[in-house]
Symmetry: C2
Amino acid sequence: AASTSEAVVATSVLPSWQDTAAKKSIVDFVARVTQAGSPDYVPPAERIAVFDNDGTLWLEQPAYVQLVFTLQRIHELAPQHPEWKTEEPFRSVLAGDMKGVAATGETGVAKLLAATHTGMSTSDFRATVHDWMSKAQDPRFKRSYTQLVYQPMLEVLQYMRANGFKTYIVSGGGVEFIRDYSERVYGVPPEHVIGSTAKYKYSFVGGVPTLTRLAQIDNVDDGPGKPASIEHVIGRRPIAAFGNSDGDIQMLEWTTAGPGARLGVIVHHTDAEREYAYDRTSKMGKLDKGLDEAPAKGWVVVDMKQDWKTVFPNATQ
Amino acid sequence: AASTSEAVVATSVLPSWQDTAAKKSIVDFVARVTQAGSPDYVPPAERIAVFDNDGTLWLEQPAYVQLVFTLQRIHELAPQHPEWKTEEPFRSVLAGDMKGVAATGETGVAKLLAATHTGMSTSDFRATVHDWMSKAQDPRFKRSYTQLVYQPMLEVLQYMRANGFKTYIVSGGGVEFIRDYSERVYGVPPEHVIGSTAKYKYSFVGGVPTLTRLAQIDNVDDGPGKPASIEHVIGRRPIAAFGNSDGDIQMLEWTTAGPGARLGVIVHHTDAEREYAYDRTSKMGKLDKGLDEAPAKGWVVVDMKQDWKTVFPNATQ
Ligand SMILES: [Ca+2]
Ligand SMILES: [Ca+2]
């Protein structure tokens, strides 16, 4: 009877995962913390699972989606900014000269973000993101970005919620950018999305209470900023964390250092054919120290090529 | 039949509220937004209600509870700080000279907060707050502070949750201070508490991942900071807001300026006998502009003396 029910679990749970060690680690962890009477039992209120976004829940190559948005917005806004023809980093963006953009460094990036992400109301920015997201397509896969989420990870999100977990996204990306689609695509409501934020100014604009996005960073939710944001917003230590890059190491450390059963998972991009293969030297989603530390820390490293039957939803394989 | 069911509602819902206009406003609002087919229907996911804490959910006189904690902690820590005998504002605190403390202004307050709220790990601070909260007593009511919450507001929290609302606390007070008791007293889990925050530093202390509370303010969640925090953390505009002071005006404006049915409520402390009576000139919870603006904005002003049958839980009246 035990083997029959295990076989049923194996096929009905996480169907896009191969029956390899990675899937077993996730399913075993959930069983341990949800089974009443288990020494590792965790009450539902404390079942918090956190997920990085770029490269963990959706693709991040050849460039973070929010960076694609930013560059395309510069092109869209250029007619209103004739000065950009000569002003860096705008000149390089408009000329398609990515090396020129890179040469402007962090100051350049800050200018691009300020020009595209600030100075408008929160609702106007939301509308701009929504409009872009509904039209933009990835050139390689010829799909909208919200269709380039990882089917196996959608199943993990749903599986954990079905087992009483609250699933939070904890991303270095802008929080509003993710909130645009997180509820309909991931089943994660806006209040469960934590990300980098701009400062807001509250004032009346045309008699209407308005939050205006300022060109000042409120919070950078990456690296050591992730455990800090988790503590600020959630106020509990998660018991499971999923990431894909060295920017997730502190979140994984913080999550798995707590008492009781803990789950740390790193998605390793090993599949150049179905998606991308990259790790130690990648500009986006660099995974170097995390790969070295995973064995000693007990973090599960998911080998995308070996462990996932499919990558994207409804993809012809 | 309608009158019978209305009578049942009147006695079974919000039992510590008198059957006055204030209660009717709350019950009518909830009915409008929850009734399927109503033009004001709001899906459960968007039913967000926000509550100020001090003076809205528990008492704040003669001093904010967190201020009482701060001053008592200075006394407890004084033996380890002989320099405080001569250094302001510590000298005045130890001498019980509140005018002397007040004379040190914001700089003095910052020093008191730094000495009592920062420099330790988040878990050590949590333990200190928890220990204090379990022992501290209000001198007038001879009760712990967690027994000095408002019974009618506990009923509102529960009533709104029973009607599919998510109830968030949005307080100018320190977020960890409220999280210590919010779940067991209010039924509000830590992740639904928004408050003022200190910056955290992530590092390994004795080989253990640790968040240390720094003497730098991360966020001041008061006045215009309230709508900004709501947008940062929740990412949706609430449809109901409860406050008690001018520090809640922006949160009330932001909430009630949205489309559809909206509820804004101000708790007016009018009951010197059972609690306190204060408004326009109070040092804690000053309510001046809010009283003036409430009628034009359609905000419900709760008259504690007239509208509440009881103030504290299980109180002998
Ligand atoms: Ca990532
Ligand atoms: Ca208050």
